[in-house]
């Protein structure tokens, strides 16, 4: 089982945001504590859905319906903690998109 380094997960999440969600932002400008919504990165609903789908694909995990919470998506840190723990359990290699 591969245990993911939290920094590696954060990096991967930021890569998705910058490269796949077409956000006009540089990776280094994404604050780990900033919200992903209006008051932070400003992802709208469509972007968030794409983000969830891409995370599931890339990390080989699946969010349960009760895991998709406002708290989880309130920062890259929270999301990375969760994705890291789930991805470790699922032990699938990272997929390139």
């Amino acid at each position: 089982m591969k245990a993911f380094n939290p920094e590696e997960v954060k990096h991967q999440l930021k890569e998705i945001i910058v490269n796949d969600l077409d956000m006009s932002i540089d990776m280094q400008d994404i604050d780990d504590n900033a919200s992903l919504y209006d008051d932070g990165l400003g992802l709208d609903s469509i972007a968030i859905i794409n983000f969830i789908v891409l995370i599931e694909k890339k990390f080989g995990i699946s969010f349960n319906e009760n895991e998709i919470s406002a708290r989880l998506f309130s920062s890259i840190n929270n999301l990375a903690d969760f994705v890291g723990s789930r991805a470790s359990v699922s032990s699938q290699p990272l997929k390139s998109l």
């Binding site: 919504y37 709208d44 968030i48 009760n66 406002a70």
Partner: protein, 470 residues
Amino acid sequence: MLIIPPDAGARRLRDDHAIISYADVPQLLKDLELFFKTNDEQQIHCLALTAENSITRVLVLLYLLSARVNFYLQSPHMTSGGSAPPFCDLLLSVGDDPFSMGQTLELRRNPAHAGKGNAFIPGNGSVLFSSSGSSGRPKYIHYRQEMLIRNAYGGVKRFGFRQQSRVLVPVPVGHMYGLGVGLLPALLCGAELCLIERNNVVKFLDRMSSFLPDITLITPTVAKMLLTLGKAIPAKSIYITAGEKIRQDTWRNFTSAYGPLINLYGCTEMGAIATTPVDDSLQERSEGILQPLDEVEVKIAGGEKGEVLCRHPAGFECYVDSKGDRVPSPAAADGWYATRDMGADAGDGRFTVMGRMDNCINRAGFLISLDEVASMLENMFPEISQAVVFEQEEENGLVTGLTAVCELAKGYELEEGLARKRCRSGMHSHFVPDIIHIVQDMARLQNGKPDRISLIDQYKTIVKNKNQRS
């Protein structure tokens, strides 16, 4: 006029910031009463209230209704300029904590206030909304407060709101959909209520799992997003949607995955007019057959197919302009309000709506709704995710041609000639587009809706040979 039932007691109201019980409401309203009395409530002509989905705004709304103070519900998106229409003399702002409202309430003069003048708006008991009209001249919709409440009772009855209900309102309460079908019916029954401010799909799923509503308002966009995401939802709810048309396959898939999806038909002027069946009539629901609410009359101008006319016992009173002067309304005659929607009689007092009258054309003597043709294409072709249909003059200027721009669904292919062939075999000839453009992505506005004007500019060509239509 305190509209909440006295026995609601421990039932709760919540938003993104706070939870209160109905038992807390009387004391919180007393705090508001003190504030308004201190600020000379009698002198208020019309107050502008930013209608955010928060408990504090709901409390203010309840107070204004109980004290019969005139107010204008201002959309949060329209407050960036800091002013309200000139008929408002005061602007009210309030924080998010219901238990410390006294410290956050602030009344300011509206810099744009024009004075009372000959304003139509009476001294009390009025509610005003912005009109969604696009005439260029701002127009506002004036309701008597008691009519607004009566209007909401129609929703209570149709959707079976009761004190045991758990109502999720993620749509703006500053519009009649969120206010008249979600917020007010829930308050009238003392139901558990959960408001979401600036909804997104994550917040929505979060509240569906934690609040477990049994009555949920949902926009067609969020409904489609849920299907895209494909996550199960633990709540057993009915879903009330309004706005853009939903394809029949989306309807069926949503119903099968999540529960009954009821379409509400209405407008700010009339409030809720009709809904698709709330019982088990799945077929009729997916076909969009609408049943007027109790006491609401609907008729189709011209009999079978034409403009939808509505007579509502609790509709708006009149339009006013930005100074509060009454604006004559050619749309309402003999008590029948002309909705500007095109519909068809479905028998037994029921009807269907095809689209806006503005999007209707006369084609060889037949009144055709362009929205209806688009809807037919979307329902007939799984390959098409969305269609936009517009008219164009043929070279002789006599016969109206139709062009359809169709966006391909992911993973599908469709050839234009084949699409027309299938249209000819499956549609009445008057509906068959002369030209079909199949595109991977169509131009869209920021809100995600197709950019009709760009599409027309891009694809408008003269139909050179009317024999193309066979």
